[in-house]
Structure formats: C-alpha cells, structure tokens
Symmetry: C2
Subunit: 402 residues, 2 copies
C-alpha cells in the first residue's frame, strides 16, 4: 500500500498531535500533580441521584430511551432547559430555539461547519479556549485576536479592527467569546462593555457566539447579564454544557438561538451523529426536573471558592516577584504571567520530569502566537494539598530560571 499519509485530506494533514497533549497524557500515569486539566472535582458528581434517574428512565421508558431519538434532542429535556435558563435569568420562549448537542465540543464543531468558509474572519479573545480554536481551525478561518484587560475585550481596539476590516471591504462572520469567568483567563466582560459589544455587532453586522460554561460558578457578587439577554436582534448564539454543573462524562450541551439558526444546526447534526443519546439526555432532564443540579450548585461553588482561594494564597506565598496572575471572580482557572525571559512551554517538560507538576503553557490559547511566558492553572480538580504543593513546585522551576 502507498503510504497511509497519501490518503489523508489536506485538512487531516494539518491535524497534529499537540506536544502539550502528549506531555500531559502521561501525567495521569505518573506521580505528577496536574494543574493542567479543566476537569470538575468528582466530589461534585451526584452519583446516587444519577443512578435513581437512570433507573427510573429505563424502567418507565426503556424502549424509547434506548431507541434512536430526534436530531434536535429530547423534547422533555428541551422543555426543562427553558425552565432552567429562565431560572438563570435567560428568557427562552420555545423549545424550537434549543438544540441538544453531544457536548460543547460538538457544538463548536457544528458552528464551524455551519458558519465558516475558508478564509472567513473569526474574532476571538486573546487568549481564548484552546478547543474552540481547534474546532474552528478545521474549517480554515482567518482568526483575529482581540486584546483584553481586567474588564474583558478592549472595545476601542475591537472597533478599530472592525473599521479596518470595513475599509478593506472584508467582513467578520462572528465573534466567539466566553464573556463570564473566561477559559483560560478567568476574566469577565463588564456590563458596560457587553452593551457596547452588542452595539458594535449591530453596527458592523456580525454574530456573537456566547459560550457560557462558567457563569454558574461565580464566587463573588457579579453584576452581569448574559449577552443573549441583552440581544434585541437575534444575533447572539448562546451555548452551554452540563459538563461542569452535572457531569462531563454525559457529553451533553445545548445551543439556544433563533429558530432559523437552530433549523440549520439540526440539519448539520443529522450528518454528524444523527442524534445525541436519549438515555443520556434523560439523565439531564431528570437532574433539572428533580432539582439535582439546582441543589448541587451552591455546594460545588463553595468547594471551588475554597480551592480558588487556596491557589491564590499559594501563588502569593510562593511565586517570585516578577510574576502576576488573574484573580478570577469565578470559573475554573487562574492565568499567570511569569517573567518574560521564561518560555513556559519549554519549562513544562522540566516541571513534569524534574518537579512533578503540570500546567498548560499559555501560548496555545493565543491565536497571534503571543503568550510565551504565560500558563493556565486549574484549581477545581486537584485537592487542597495538591494545589499548595503544585504551586510550590512550579515556583521552584521558575526560580531556577531567574
């Protein structure tokens, strides 16, 4: 046979195993403390409740839950999501505005498929969610990165970019944002800027994808409204996931948007996986209906607040001067800058092999190739002692390099 590689599409030839992923892979096997993941604490999984729900589902309607379902998703779950989103301050009128997806990642792949033609301009934050970059990249957009400060995207800079594009008769398709407790930075977009962003979207006519996995996890009072709630023109496509509020192992998320978008998403989803598992959807349905998620959230938040505080304390105590980091009001991550002479990607290998600790080098989150001296630190998965010890170990590696 010819070399297998000759059969791959150009698209596939661009898919490379990330060195970082390869490095992080053997973290699970060794004695390495990982601050590199983005996983919830398994303590927060309501195992018993899930078992009750799935037993009830299989007993009462096994035939239906084990059969093919519809591409748009289980009607009962979409109905519960209306209540759930209302409870979160997001008004949704009709189940036809909701489609269930097999996890946020499928949602991102689907949005790439439905919106991006090769060369299309896609605006993203600097830094932004790595897996969103990966999902969109397949469709060969041209990314433009947007500078952020403590209040989120710099609106003047954004307006400048939009004007520049207009002058060149180029047009942005959409802006992808995680406006609340962002991954990886932990930053939240201020209310004023949210309003400003929507004005710009209206003036320059683009769509906004509001990815919202983390607004459930705020540890300080925060005055925000969802972009979707502020949107008067139907140009915000809202997406969220059950991964952090219930369980990532269900692979379950949803998208809320205007019906004409949802209809197209449904067609795309047919070709992607026909439907999401009705059995899994029933678990999420039951977990909203029985109030499992609503009851669990305060407990998870309290746990994660403690962990965030512990990591912030450890950073203050151990990280050398010349380092700085975000103080996120919520979410799962702290983002840190080490002195500029340090390349965090290069340092990671040492950290894993010599110091027994891992993080995600920040550069992967920047579509403009910047962020060489940054890192993302997760505080939800490791236990308290590991948070302390992990930060201590990283600080040793930093100090060695100074």
């Amino acid at each position: 046979m010819e070399d297998a590689y000759n059969f791959f599409s150009k698209r596939a030839s661009l898919m490379k195993a990330s060195e970082i992923r390869e490095l992080l892979k053997w973290v699970t096997e060794g004695k390495v403390i990982s601050l590199g993941g983005g996983m919830p604490d398994p303590q927060t999984f309501p195992v018993e409740d899930i078992l009750d729900i799935v037993s009830k589902g299989l007993r009462e309607q096994g035939d239906k839950l084990l059969q093919y379902g519809s591409s748009e998703g289980l009607k009962e779950l979409r109905e519960q999501l209306i209540h759930f989103m209302n409870w979160r301050g997001l008004r949704v009128d009709d189940i036809d505005n909701i489609i269930i997806v097999s996890g946020s990642q499928q949602g991102l792949d689907l949005l790439g498929k439905v919106f991006i033609d090769r060369g299309d301009i896609v605006l993203v934050e600097l830094p932004t969610y790595l897996a969103a970059i990966n999902a969109f990249e397949i469709y060969e957009p041209q990314f433009i990165g947007l500078r952020m400060d403590d209040e989120g995207i710099d609106m003047d800079a954004l307006e400048g970019i939009l004007k520049g594009l207009k002058a060149k008769k180029q047009k942005q398709k959409f802006l992808y944002t995680i406006p609340t407790c962002q991954n990886p930075s932990g930053i939240s977009l201020s209310l004023d800027r949210r309003k400003h962003l929507l004005e710009l979207a209206s003036t320059f006519d683009f769509l906004i994808i509001e990815d919202d996995p983390y607004s459930f996890f705020t540890y300080e009072p925060l005055e925000i409204e969802h972009l979707k709630s502020l949107d008067k023109e139907g140009r915000v496509i809202y997406m969220s996931t059950f991964s952090k509020i219930l369980s990532p192992g269900l692979r379950l998320g949803w998208i809320n948007a205007e019906e004409e978008f949802i209809e197209k998403f449904e067609l795309a989803k047919q070709s992607m996986d026909l439907c999401t598992s009705p059995l899994v959807q029933y678990i999420a349905y039951g977990a909203i209906k029985e109030g499992v998620i609503q009851r669990n959230l305060p407990k998870s938040k309290a746990l994660y607040k403690q962990k965030r505080d512990r990591m912030l304390d450890a950073l203050s105590q151990f990280f050398p001067t010349g380092c700085r980091w975000t103080k996120p009001i919520g979410g799962l991550f702290i983002f840190a800058w080490v002195p500029e002479k340090i390349d965090t990607k290069e340092m990671l290998q040492d950290c894993i092999q010599k110091y027994g600790v891992a993080y995600v080098p920040g550069r992967s989150f920047f579509v403009d190739g910047s962020g060489k001296n940054t890192m993302r630190l997760n505080f939800t998965y490791p236990n308290m002692e590991m948070l302390d010890e992990g930060i201590k170990r990283i600080s040793r590696a930093i100090k060695e390099r100074l």
Copy 2:
C-alpha cells in the same frame, strides 16, 4: 440584522431539509404504518441487563464514568471489542487498532473529514446508505456509483471505471461498501468478489471502508469472510455499531484499522466531541463482558427472520405483477422495484395521506439520480400485523397507478 442566511457557510447552504424526512417526520404522530425507518424492534433491547450494568458501573466507578474520558475510547471497552471481533471471525491484535465513535454516523463524518478533499473521487454502491452519502457530501467529493447484481458490486464494471480514471490520471480515494446484507438493498457481496475487490484495491491503490452493521443478522447460511479479514495490506477500514445488536440510543460504534489511521482519527475526534460518553461505553463493555449481546443475538435473529418471511409473503401475495424485490439473506431491509411509470417519491405523499403507510423512496440512495421506481422497506420495527397491512396498503397505491 442581515438575513441569517447570509451568515451560513457554502457548505451549510447546501444542507437542505429532505422532503422525505419532513414527510416521514409526522408519520410518528399519525396513524400511519411506517416501513420507512431502520430501527430495531425495541423487544430486542435488554433493558434489565442494561440497568444492572449501569448500576454496577455507577456504584463501582461513578467518578471515572462521569468524568471526561480519552478520545480513543474506554480501554476496557476496546479490550472487550477485541474478544468480540475475534468471536465474529475478525482478528484484531491490539486496542490501538480500535477507536470508539459516537455512533456510526460520527464514524462516517470522521472518515469524510479525514479523507475527503473537495473533488476527491469516492466510489459507492448503487444504491448505498443514504446517511453515508449525507455525511460524505459535506466534504464535497465526486461520487461514482457502482452497479450491483445479486452478488453485489459488478467487478468488471468497477475495473472499467478504475481503468478509465487511471487513463485520465484521476484517482479514487476510497470505496465505501456495506458488503453484507446491505442497506438499502439487502444484497451481500459474494466471497469471490470480495477477493476480487481486494485485488483491485491493491492494483489501483485505494482504501476500502467496510461498514458492517448487519452481518450479525443473517437468516440463512452465508459463506463470507469480512473484507477486513481478507485484507493483507491494511487498506480496509472496518466499522460497526452497537445500534442493532444492543441499542441505537447509546449512540455507540467503533472503527478498526491500522494504527496510523486510528491515530489520525483520534485527532479528528478531539475536535469533534473530545470523547464519547464513558458511561455509555461502560454499558457496551458490560454487555459484551457479561455475554448479554452474545445471548441476545440468536433471539433477535429468530424474530427478524420471522418478520422478513412475513414481509416476503405479503409482497408475493399483494404486490401486483411488474414489481420485483430482493430476497435478502439478512439485515433489516427489502428493496423493491415497482413498474417504471411509477415515481415512488411522488407516490409517497399519497401513501401517507390517503393509505396510511410510509416507506423510503429509493432514489435518495442512488448517487446517479436513478432509482425513481424503487423503495426501501424495513421489516424489523413494525409488528407482524403491520407488516402485512403495510404491504397491502402500498400495493393498493401501486395498483391505483397502473
């Protein structure tokens, strides 16, 4: 806002709601007998066994099954699949030759993504599986349809096509086939032709995708070997699914191929859904390990054999002369030809509204636009009485048109 349609990718603009799908949609709501689906009989779902397995899994390793999993799939399931495939006469040496996918449909989307560049030549049977056409189409290949007779693909015709392509310095990427109890035709590729196909693949250097959901359901003795077993060069990519042997609602399938392919599939899958639900994978793991699937298969086969026979009897009894149909030795479908003056797509509307019966018009399965006077009939989902009554109703519609 500008018209939403202005934001869609060219790819998305090509996605149209199928009229047939729209017609079949309201079949579930009305008093229409549907021979149009491709669903297993829910009687075959081992609901109690699944409940036992899922309870055990959640109790013993809930933390793991509700957490993120790896993109290649649960190790325990891939190990069990080695035993399972060996039991089916397919030798697999290593779990690195297996990737778990979220249903066959995701497998097809993944193969399209990894192999097809715009304009690439993809060979498919006439007729072939509609959802495979839909999945591949997104990546804009050029389809070439392959004529079949009772023994499957006409090898002389195929060789002619391959020589023609070679003369034009064009090259086929892969041939997609369901060699055993094909959907929609019910035809199985003979053993001689299987060997011939592999020789041609070797001579003309292309890949073969062997889609194998139905070889589990043979109702007559059948002397075949899987293409994957006959393959000496690693050019067969084998895929199958738990949808018919366990439950479609799990959305679970697998691909078996050379490791260099599996590695690329894993990268593609990362961007598609990160991983398939570990909880759902555990159910399939348990169902193989505990012998649930192996014990159930003979019962399902006996049931489906009865149903096939009943539909064949009904066809003989009610369909007017000038009609013919396949006598499949297995699978879920019978494919029928009605007199040429009848357009089965046009007749469907009448069948649903006036006669209360549905089928899938055959034209959608033909990439060359032929098959105007054909239909696919499913015999596994309807009960015995409905099989009889359904065929009776269709024959009334046919007779009215003659």
